[in-house]
């Protein structure tokens, strides 16, 4: 557009503004003239807590006359009846009030909803501005249109210090890590749903959620002491509101698909496989090339599919002043993105509340039924390892008729993923009832007593049907069978709390005391019966129809937790805030000697912006806070401290054979375990600028985890079997900063907001159990003083191009380091200089610990349209690419990627070695060739919606109608060559090891919601 056009547009805009100004002025004139008699008006201005506000300005609208309030919040001025007073005060919304009599009292509203926002903390609520701890609030409007149907997936990237990693598998939950790894067993936080601490929470219907708060530091979480070491996620579900019934309906349909590898096709595969065999023939490993199968299979076509996911919600809510209800229904069906997988879910919720005088009650009840057609094995490794020459179905292999390896045609033990899904069908069904009911009495408007009962029952029912047939070379010709297993898990919770809340002048006091008792028990039963009935190839899935031998088993589990807790908060004049918390827990999972733990915390905050000396006009709010606290964890098995005997071993003797029962202790146990503790300091600052348009929260924390309960690997020479014993082993330290910055404004008709969060956490191992100074895995090493997740591998130095290079690769004593190497082989670093490549040459070659994590979200509204863009990323770390290691340069006849360009006499590659079958010298997994930069930034979500204008809705007798489209995971910026840099870690000692893992699906979602 030429510059002069800008000018003309600008002029027009000014002209239009002039017009507007004229209208405004003339309106004021009309108003002024309409007024007549003057009046002496006085009143008091108070804040939301009823405290008088000093220094608030009171101005008669349209004039310059006005005053400000005194120390008691009082003001007096003269104005006309019917005139409008404008009240303003930093940090509060500017409000207007019409003068109708001599007294005008006003309660100032906080200027921004988020500042006055009530935040749920353990066993109570507080205003967000009064927080003394680090709490992230996730806006539920940000998650309503996400494709993810589990809670963790839905909050990905929305809160600083909260790392969510997920798998795209239908019906599988994501995992949440709050503020780095502080724990070696289970880093999932505690979920508290409607005041009920529960293992669940991941399976909630997102549409039912009213609010989510994440308690990140010790002082916020200390009230949940024993289970709060990994942080606490508090979820409140929706309640009915006074008024006529509201009906809200929402439907979402999404198309999901998985990213794919670029693999060789049949002809390319044969070309390179023959090359690998030619090398092997030269080396005397084999005598001839493979006699390739006739197949031409794209295994990704055979296994990956487009999944259609449908999610429908309906809710009814309403009520009177004394009784409210919220009822919702949900149906989800996920077609799955991998052959043979799917997930269906039904949910039903009823929340009601009522009160009579001082007495009130509430109830939340939730029913969930799911069916998951699960996945057998990991197809993401099979897709690579299966040669394209193998057919999916091969009539030569009976029974079953599936294609797989053969020593002569495709010498591989790769698994046929289609056969696996078909032959080994696993269906998990579960029914869950979860609910709580509470009764509450209020005394003297200050003391509240509450009794809360919670109950959860999960009933799981797994069905495995193993048909006849094989999916890999050399597999047992196993009998067909049916396995049915049932698992029942119940949790009962009884909780009493007393809550005291009172303001005396400028003093606010809040106190809480409570006790809680929780009991968990499980019961498992399973049975397997061989040889189910098969008629015309159809399997009967009932135990009664099977004719073979039957076996079975089962076990119980039970744990109890008894706790007392208290909290006291004191606020003076909104300036000084102090909170102290204590909790004492006893857990049956620990031996008597270490059963009880105390978890105290203390926190303070100072609202500087409230001080009279503080006078920075562009800062609307400034608060600093500090806290210190101790949290605990005993999230281990039911009886991990009791050594038990294994009565399963059998032996045969005699003629004829007689089976004899044996008993032994298979698993070793540490009998003296105790609470794991996390000691955390947190320093934070909250600030709001420019009338709360700009908000900032910064946190710095130091968290030390002591006596971590961990199943630390012990030596095989102990003879231990059945899992490593739990021990109070390591101590870890996480230090980090979290920054959250928000900006909200309007630009003409467009209102928009930007929020960014940034996290950087440094991890250090302070101690490893059993007096160890290092812990090794195949790929990693963790030493005292170092971070978890250091890759400890053989370093590669390119490729030998000539025999002379092999011969000249010597250590300082002149020893040829790799005398057996051939041109085209990998040159490994002789790290210790001893003239040979051995286990002592492994070295730290990179870290799997991300230096930075960041999230970014942008929201905008324009007329009826709304837009949400969310991104997140992790930076500065390495990933071990298991897909490339699996491909392994034809050492095992696995397929590989289409960009292969191996070393040959003609092609002197310095990155890809020569291909050779039957020799792992170049393809070993523990080399740094498989490490890649893992940094990525992903636009996780782009959601666009359109809301029908209100007047059209009214005509249609609707409250609202919104149509939307959401694109998920479509754009990722990364140099990582694996399918997805954002995957679920397999364990804390193997961070950033991409197995290969199940990638996140890409998807496009269409949604329609309306209410009436």
């Amino acid at each position: 557009m030429p510059a002069n056009e800008y000018v003309s547009i600008g002029k027009k805009a000014i002209a239009r503004c002039k017009g507007l100004l004229l209208v405004l002025i003339s309106m004021s004139v009309i108003q002024l003239t309409a007024l007549a008699q003057t009046l002496q008006v006085s009143g008091t201005v108070r804040d939301g807590k009823g405290h008088p506000v000093e220094g608030a300005s009171v101005i008669v609208k349209g004039t310059t006359s006005g005053t400000s309030t005194d120390a008691n919040g009082r003001f007096t001025l003269s104005t006309a009846r019917g005139s409008i007073l404008v009240f303003s005060y930093t940090g509060f919304e500017t409000q207007e009030k019409k003068v109708q009599g001599a007294a005008v009292d006003l309660v100032l509203r906080d200027s921004d909803a988020s500042m006055g926002e009530v935040v749920v903390v353990g066993y109570g609520t507080t205003r967000k501005k009064d927080l003394t701890g680090a709490i992230s609030v996730v806006r539920t409007e940000n998650i309503a249109n996400r494709v993810s149907t589990d809670l963790a997936g839905a909050i990905k990237g929305l809160a600083a210090g909260v790392k969510v990693t997920s798998t795209g598998q239908a019906g599988e939950s994501s995992s949440i890590t709050i503020r780095g790894i502080g724990n070696l067993t289970n880093n999932n936080p505690l979920f508290v749903v409607d005041g009920f601490p529960t293992g669940g929470g991941m399976d909630l219907n997102l549409q039912d959620i009213e609010s989510i708060q994440i308690l990140k530091d010790a002082s916020s979480a200390a009230i949940y002491g024993s289970r709060a070491a990994n942080g606490v996620v508090i979820i409140t579900t929706k309640k009915g509101k006074e008024g006529p019934m509201k009906v809200d309906a929402n439907s979402q349909v999404s198309v999901n698909w998985l990213p794919r590898y670029k693999l060789l096709n049949r002809d390319q595969y044969i070309h390179f496989d023959d090359m690998a065999y030619d090398e092997a023939i030269k080396a005397g490993i084999v005598t001839h090339r493979q006699n390739h199968y006739p197949g031409n299979t794209d295994w990704q076509d055979a296994v990956l599919k487009q999944g259609i996911k449908q999610n429908y919600n309906l809710s009814l809510s309403g009520g009177s002043r004394t009784g409210q209800y919220f009822v919702s229904l949900n149906k989800l069906s996920d077609g799955g993105t991998v052959y043979g997988t799917s997930f269906d879910r039904y949910m039903f919720r009823v929340n009601t509340a009522g009160e009579k005088g001082a007495f009130s009650y509430g109830e939340n009840l939730y029913f969930l039924s799911t069916r998951q057609d699960g996945m057998t094995g990991n197809p993401f490794a099979d897709l690579i390892s299966m040669p394209p020459t193998v057919r999916v179905h091969d009539p030569l292999h009976q029974p079953g008729g599936y294609g797989f390896g053969n020593p002569d045609s495709a010498n591989t033990y790769a698994l046929n993923p289609v056969a696996q899904q078909d032959i080994m069908g696993v269906v998990n069904k579960s029914n869950t009832i979860r609910g709580n009911v509470f009764a509450q009495v209020r005394l003297f408007n200050a003391l509240t007593a509450k009794l809360n009962f919670g109950y959860t029952a999960d009933f799981e029912n797994d069905n495995t049907l193993r048909k006849r047939g094989n999916w890999t070379m050399g597999q047992a010709n196993d009998d067909d069978y049916i396995t049915k297993s049932m698992n029942k898990h119940q949790t009962l919770l009884v909780e009493n709390t007393y809550n005291f809340k009172k303001s005396f002048g400028r003093h606010d006091i809040e106190a809480l005391a409570g006790a809680s008792y929780q009991k968990d028990n499980t019961e498992d039963v399973w049975t397997t019966r061989l040889n189910p009935l098969v008629i015309n190839g159809q399997y009967y899935n009932s135990l009664n129809s099977a004719t073979g031998a039957q076996t079975g088993g089962g076990q119980y589990g039970e744990a109890r937790l008894l706790s007392w807790f208290g909290r006291i908060s004191y606020t003076y004049d909104d300036k000084y805030l102090l909170t102290g918390t204590i909790r004492r827990d006893g857990s049956s999972r620990l031996p008597e000697s270490g059963r009880w733990g105390n978890f105290p915390s203390i926190a303070g905050a100072w609202r500087i912006s409230k001080e009279s000396f503080f006078d920075v006009p562009f800062i609307s709010d400034l608060k600093i806070r500090a806290n210190y606290g101790v949290l605990g964890n005993a999230n281990i098995g039911y009886w991990d401290y009791i050594p038990v005997m294994n009565t399963s071993p059998r032996a045969v003797f005699g003629s004829p054979e007689t089976v004899v029962i044996g008993t032994t202790q298979s698993q070793l146990v540490n009998t003296n375990i105790t609470w794991e503790k996390k000691i955390q300091q947190n320093y934070g600052v909250d600030a709001a600028f420019l009338n709360n348009k700009l908000t900032f929260t910064g946190e710095y924390f130091i968290a030390k985890s002591k006596d971590l309960l961990v199943a630390l690997p012990i030596l095989a020479s102990t003879g231990n079997n059945g899992g490593n014993p739990i021990v109070n082993a390591a101590s870890l330290q996480n230090k980090g900063i979290e920054l959250t910055l928000g900006w909200k404004d309007k630009l003409g008709d467009v209102s928009y907001g930007v929020s960014a969060n940034f996290t950087s956490i440094r991890n250090k191992v302070l101690d490893l159990g059993y007096g160890k100074v290092t812990n090794y895995t195949f790929l990693t090493k963790a030493g005292i003083g170092q971070s978890l997740g250091s890759f400890y591998l053989y370093k590669t130095l390119g490729i030998f191009q000539t025999q002379a290079e092999v011969d000249n690769y010597k250590n300082k004593n002149g020893t040829v380091i790799q005398p057996n190497a051939k041109p085209g082989d990998i040159k490994y670093d002789d790290y210790n200089g001893d003239g040979q490549i051995s286990s002592d040459d492994r070295q730290i070659v990179g870290s799997g610990w991300a230096k930075y994590e960041a999230g970014l979200s942008l929201t905008a509204q324009w007329k009826g349209f709304d837009l949400l863009v969310q991104g997140y990323g992790r930076f500065g770390y390495k990933i071990w690419n298991g897909a490339r290691a699996t491909a392994g340069d034809f050492a095992n006849n696995n397929n590989t990627f289409s960009n292969i360009s191996p070393w040959t006499e003609q092609n002197h590659s310095n990155t890809q070695p020569r291909l050779i079958f039957g020799d792992t010298r170049n393809s070993r997994g523990d080399q740094d060739r498989w490490l890649e930069n893992g940094s990525f930034f992903r636009i996780g979500e782009i959601a666009l919606g359109y809301n029908l204008p209100q007047h059209i809705c009214d005509k249609l007798r609707m409250r609202n109608l919104r149509a939307g489209i959401t694109a998920t995971n479509l754009i990722t910026f990364t140099g990582y060559s694996g399918l997805d840099p954002d995957f679920k870690d397999t364990g804390i000692f193997t961070l950033a090891v991409d197995g290969p893992s199940y990638p996140n699906p890409r998807s496009v979602l269409f949604s329609l919601s309306f209410g009436f």
């Binding site: 009493n496 031998a549 095989a716 007096g771």
Partner: protein, 524 residues
């Protein structure tokens, strides 16, 4: 208001009275260790669990055969699993390779842990008779000695764990001298306490003869010839002689018929009583069979993880039986191309019902036939079979005795020659002195020649029975280039053999990394 206060108290005080006792929750699933080890029956069950350790992949149901036979010059591997194949050929890339080194190591130590539990409690229990106590002690010591024997053969510098383990244990490393001393002590105690024979439902348990046979072998590895003779003489010349003999049909040693026969000194009792399942330690119906045959059977029929070297055919065929035929041990031991021609009298020379040429890729390969289901009349391997594995046969003992006597007397005496000839005659071969191929007189007249000749006789009689590697180590063939060069002519796998390195395995790397008291075998 009064009502409200009462209600408040009611509501607020439900949990407060809860008693701390509610946190004592007993485990209802099984015995705790504190409740066990109280009676003789408990110890008997503990011992059974130690025997159960035989049915594990890392002990005697799977790839120890690949390793022991693959290391020997009688076996090689063309396994489809590249790393497995490399481990049978002295090529170790990943020292922690789970299927071979790690699994064998850890399953052996699991077995030792079980034996240690029995031995630690044996003095704390009252027995109905001293005899019962001795029998339990003897068997537990035999098993511990046996497992250490194979650990020592494979790795040499290993931790000696002799007490019930604790999770924090980082046991210190012992060298061969210490380990052998422990093996000797365990097997001596076992021999002193074990009965000569077991009967009925107890058949198959360790006997005095089994303990003495392994004790003799342990001494032989250390070249303690006199002690070796003292140990084995009970079986060859002493009271034990009555229990042992060579059975007429060589092939009966490798089938499920005629198990625990007179030739068997110690065998592992395998069974097909539980048809499916694996070696899961926590299932009472885990398979009690062996995968030896599945592991070895030819390409297309089994995993073919281990197969035989062709020199066996040539060596067998160069000497004829007294009726001028080929040695039936060749027919019994292996499958190969010319088998039909070499044994025209045999009714079935098919390989699981297939003719040799049916699979064009078999060519000049040689497959192991010992212990296959084919010998049981099946035409397929079903993953598991129930053929007891004879860890020590009397033929082995006799040949050991001949070797010991040759060493002690610096030449074979009459008994040494007689021991050898007993083994030859069972195969229908003439006395060595009358051999059509060997110069019997020269061999019998010379210490070195007789010793060298025994290497051939043992190699043929005991081929592919996991004894060759033990023998090669004892004979010093692995100690110098001359020995390696000789082995290379029979088994090209020895081209990968590195002197002063490959004679023992690299210790599992994770054990070395995580145990400060354990050093990797140099120069790995």
């Amino acid at each position: 208001m009064k009502h409200t206060i009462i209600l408040t108290l009611l509501i607020g005080l439900t949990v407060f009275p809860a008693c701390k006792k509610v946190l004592d929750v007993p485990n209802p699933n099984t015995f705790t260790a504190a409740e066990f080890w109280k009676t003789e029956a408990d110890l008997q069950q503990g011992l059974t669990a130690a025997y159960n350790a035989f049915y594990k992949q890392g002990t005697w149901t799977r790839n120890i055969y690949t390793l022991m036979d693959g290391n020997g010059d009688d076996g090689t591997s063309l396994a489809g699993w590249t790393e497995l194949q490399e481990w049978a050929k002295f090529k170790y890339t990943n020292y922690d390779f789970f299927e071979m080194g790690y699994k064998i190591w850890s399953d052996h130590y699991k077995a030792i842990f079980r034996a240690n539990q029995v031995l630690d409690h044996v003095d704390k229990v009252t027995f109905s008779s001293d005899e019962n106590k001795r029998r339990i002690t003897g068997q537990a010591k035999f098993l511990r000695g046996l497992y250490y024997f194979y650990l020592e053969i494979l790795w040499e510098n290993i931790p000696l764990v002799l007490k019930t383990s604790q999770p924090s244990d980082a046991p210190k490393q012992s060298g061969p001298a210490e380990v052998w001393a422990q093996i000797e002590s365990d097997l001596k105690d076992a021999a002193d306490n074990l009965p000569d024979q077991w009967t009925g439902v107890d058949k198959g348990r360790a006997t005095k003869g089994a303990a003495l046979a392994y004790l003799g072998k342990a001494y032989m590895q250390q070249k303690k010839w006199q002690q070796a003779k003292d140990a084995l003489s009970w079986l060859v010349e002493g009271d034990g002689r009555q229990y042992y003999d060579l059975i007429p049909n060589y092939g009966d040693n490798f089938t499920n018929a005629n198990e625990n026969n007179k030739e068997s000194v110690f065998e592992i009792q395998f069974s097909e009583v539980y048809a499916t399942g694996y070696d899961d330690d926590f299932s009472s119906t885990s398979n009690l069979g062996t995968q030896h045959a599945m592991n070895a059977s030819p390409k297309g029929l089994g995993w073919n993880n281990i197969q035989a070297r062709r020199w066996l055919i040539d060596y067998f065929k160069r000497e004829k039986t007294i009726d001028g035929k080929n040695d039936i041990r060749l027919f019994t031991s292996i499958w190969y191309d010319a088998r039909k021609n070499d044994f025209p009298d045999q009714p079935d020379s098919l390989v699981y019902g297939r003719s040799w040429t049916e699979d064009p890729t078999w060519g000049s390969q040689v497959f192991i036939r010992k212990y296959t289901s084919k010998l049981n009349g099946r035409d397929l391997e079903f993953y598991w079979n129930d053929i007891n594995y004879r860890l020590i046969r009397y033929a082995d003992v006799l040949l050991c005795y001949a070797e010991i006597l040759n060493e002690l007397n610096h030449g074979p005496n009459a008994l040494a020659i007689q021991c050898l000839d007993r083994v030859r005659q069972r195969a229908n071969l003439p006395l060595l002195i009358n051999s059509t191929y060997y110069n019997g007189a020269a061999i019998e007249g010379d210490y070195t020649a007789f010793g060298k000749h025994l290497q051939i006789e043992r190699g043929l009689e005991l081929c592919l029975e996991c004894v060759r590697w033990i023998d090669l180590k004892r004979w010093g063939l692995l100690d110098n280039q001359t020995g390696i060069d000789e082995l290379k002519t029979r088994d090209p796998d020895f081209n990968n053999f590195v002197l002063n390195k490959s004679y023992r395995l690299p210790l599992p790397q994770s054990e070395v990394d995580n145990n400060p008291n354990l050093t990797q075998n140099t120069p790995y």
